[in-house]
Amino acid sequence: MAWAESIVSVLKKYNVRFLNYVPDTKIEKILAAARDLGGFEALPLTREEEGIGIVCGQSLGGGRGVMLCPTAGLGNSINAVAALAIAYRIPCPIIIGVRGDLGEFNPAQVPMGQATQDILDALRIPSYRITREDETEKMTEGALRICYASEGPVAILVTNELAGWKEGRTKK
């Protein structure tokens, strides 16, 4: 199974229904796999912080949702993660399409991409970097298990090692 299909099948196994997202190319692969599998509701957002509030609202209602966004979007969402998901102990899985790392072409993606792990660590958010297709299912499942067990945010990082880097117009 390709990595995006693996992620989506684990989401379904854990009864995740809501895919709240700000798109990027990796996230689109997950959304496409979800459309193929069916049974999800995808909600496009204006900003990632909104998505954290929405996932937390879904969780408080007894539903399960995830936030899907690129690394830059994590920066847009941090106080909501801290003040809702951490302070109230609300499960909030965040699936992050990594930018600003291996093979990046866009110089302005690099600062957030390189800071992402430190930001997650500073907030003690458990995070799991998926780098290989054959570990995707186990890593995703393990991340969801700790998320619902600990009742807090968890980050799943979809890396360039796994999903490839974005081709783009390099500097000249």
């Binding site: 204006t46 912080e49 909104e50 996932v55 003040a83 009742e151």
Partner: protein
């Protein structure tokens, strides 16, 4: 201009199984002193997030009406939520904005609504199907009565007096969460 504690007491007196979520501003204290309920979710410090929490709840629990107690400052921080809510169109959402034209909880600094910004017009522009602007208690009561019965999403823009809020002090975040979720039989 509306006295929020009076208006809030009226609304809370009408509630049965509805859920109420607040912004981090003073509206959370007025909600609590209007009548503390297990189905109230008080927001300690998630800036701007009341409307998004309300949307998430409305999606997860379509059988329940969800009321958002938002403020002008809080909504101005999360204006994109207007577009997202209008796009998703949750029929069970009632978005109340208590507009006192100031950041009252931090000392009364003016917000943009003290100048030219009209949040009701922005909600209309975002695509909310039901938008009411109310400036008196009677108008609030009539809008709230309709919103509790008719499908939304509703946006009730309340022009309110800026006056000191009594109360203060909340249970811990996790106590608020567990009480709220137990009341609606929700499990993570």
């Amino acid at each position: 201009m509306i006295d929020r504690s009076e208006a809030s007491k009226y609304l809370v007196g009408k509630l049965k199984d509805e859920l109420v979520v607040t912004s981090l501003g003073n509206e959370k204290y007025d909600l609590r002193s209007s009548g503390d309920r297990d189905r109230n979710f008080y927001n300690w410090n998630a800036m701007g997030m009341a409307s998004s929490l309300g949307l998430g709840l409305a999606m997860a629990r379509p059988e329940l009406k969800v009321i958002v107690y938002d403020g002008d400052g809080s909504l101005l921080m999360n204006l994109g939520a207007l577009a997202t809510i209008a796009m998703r169109e949750p029929k069970n959402l009632i978005h109340i904005v208590w507009d006192n034209r100031s950041y009252a909880i931090t000392g009364g600094q003016p917000t943009a609504t003290a100048f030219r910004t009209d949040l009701g017009a922005m909600a209309k522009g975002a695509g909310y199907p039901k938008v009411e602007r109310v400036e008196t208690l009677a108008a609030f009561q009539s809008a709230a009565d309709r919103a509790l019965i008719e499908p939304g999403p509703w946006f009730i823009h309340c022009l309110m007096k800026d006056k000191p809020v009594k109360g203060g002090g909340l249970p811990s975040p996790t106590a608020i969460k567990h009480r709220f979720m137990d009341a609606i039989g929700a499990r993570h």
